[in-house]
Symmetry: C2
Subunit: 207 residues, 2 copies
């Protein structure tokens, strides 16, 4: 299982943003939904072994997390507006409850109150990987051989120092995707490709 | 120099599409603008050594090509709506001329009449690479060592047989990005990462 925890420092934790100006009104939710596409969608299909957490840090009064499970979610479309519409409807559906646990608002999609620190309980025994430019090269990183990996991905403004320190103290490995600093969604694409390659190589070896 | 020729079989070659329903009204221009982002934009910057051609095959009466040069284009934003707006304005600006050569409609952005076959003259001495699932693995592909590479990328419906044959007959190498069939924009991200790695490795070696 692959999990992607996408951290939006200021991403809007309510449905109060405009679909026709995502970058300007949503705290850059556009970055997060592009990461969602890269993590879950492949050509004519959805990755069944991937789960994405969108950590929406721009919450007044509370931060929220939207969880999307590839195996259960339905009608995921790849374009930004469709994905942002999905997030908007999910947040609106859970606007009153503001639950302290994940509440499923439609198949495969759940919302809970809280920030990054509260996602951890949902990650099980996953090996933690922090994607950042100064990390070890993903192609030679042993952490990606684990059966369960959780990748932490910052949006355009990255992680704040406290979050980063907290993740490293939890044992997260700092991993980089290459020599050029890329958009968050490209980092998701590249680590997914690396995981695909290792899984294909392992299944060839097992035959 | 890296060039990406993104072929949209039915992508709208005029400005007659709606920004609030790109997938439904533009012949899937959403796929093409996501490829444009992946090819040109990096974290807080634009790739100076990349040029993208959007081949818009859904032209009535004529197909058109939009060329975007990373080194000259200004104010490129990463979200789909902004990029689609840019394409729409560029097509509207060149709506009457319908020139047989590239006409610059704003800095770094040019439009011409014609389809895939007419892009070739613009590619210079680039080594041609056709991205497709059955190709050789990109990580061991010598074509990517060339100083000038032009990648041909199909949209969600791929290449038609005639176009594919034509490219192969021209000497294009068929290259795959990994064991899982991905969206076009992810293929662009992965080959860009491979090129970044080889360039970084070459410049280390040259020191």
């Amino acid at each position: 299982m692959r999990r992607f925890v996408i951290v939006g420092q200021r991403a809007c934790a309510s449905a109060d943003f405009r679909l026709d100006d995502l970058p300007g009104t949503s705290g850059r939710l556009d970055v997060l939904v592009r990461c969602l596409r890269a993590a879950l969608l492949v050509s004519h299909g959805v990755r069944q072994d991937a789960i994405v957490y969108l950590v929406l840090g721009g919450g007044v009064p509370a931060k929220r997390v939207v969880r999307v499970e590839g195996a259960a979610a339905r009608f995921l479309r790849p374009d930004e507006r469709s994905l942002a519409t999905l997030v908007k409807k999910s947040l609106a559906a859970e606007a009153e409850g503001e639950s302290e646990r994940f509440v499923e608002v439609r198949p495969g999609i759940a919302v809970r109150r809280g920030g990054l620190e509260l996602v951890l309980a949902d990650l099980g025994d996953a090996v933690l990987v922090l994607l950042e430019p100064a990390g070890a090269d993903v192609r030679s990183e042993p952490a990606l051989d684990a059966a369960h990996v959780a990748f932490f991905v910052g949006d355009h403004s990255g992680f704040d120092d406290v979050e980063r320190r907290w993740l490293i103290d939890l044992g997260a490995r700092a991993v980089a995707v290459g020599p050029v600093q890329l958009h968050a969604e490209d980092a998701v694409t590249i680590v997914s490709n690396e995981m695909d390659r290792r899984e294909a190589s392992n299944s060839r070896r097992a035959r």
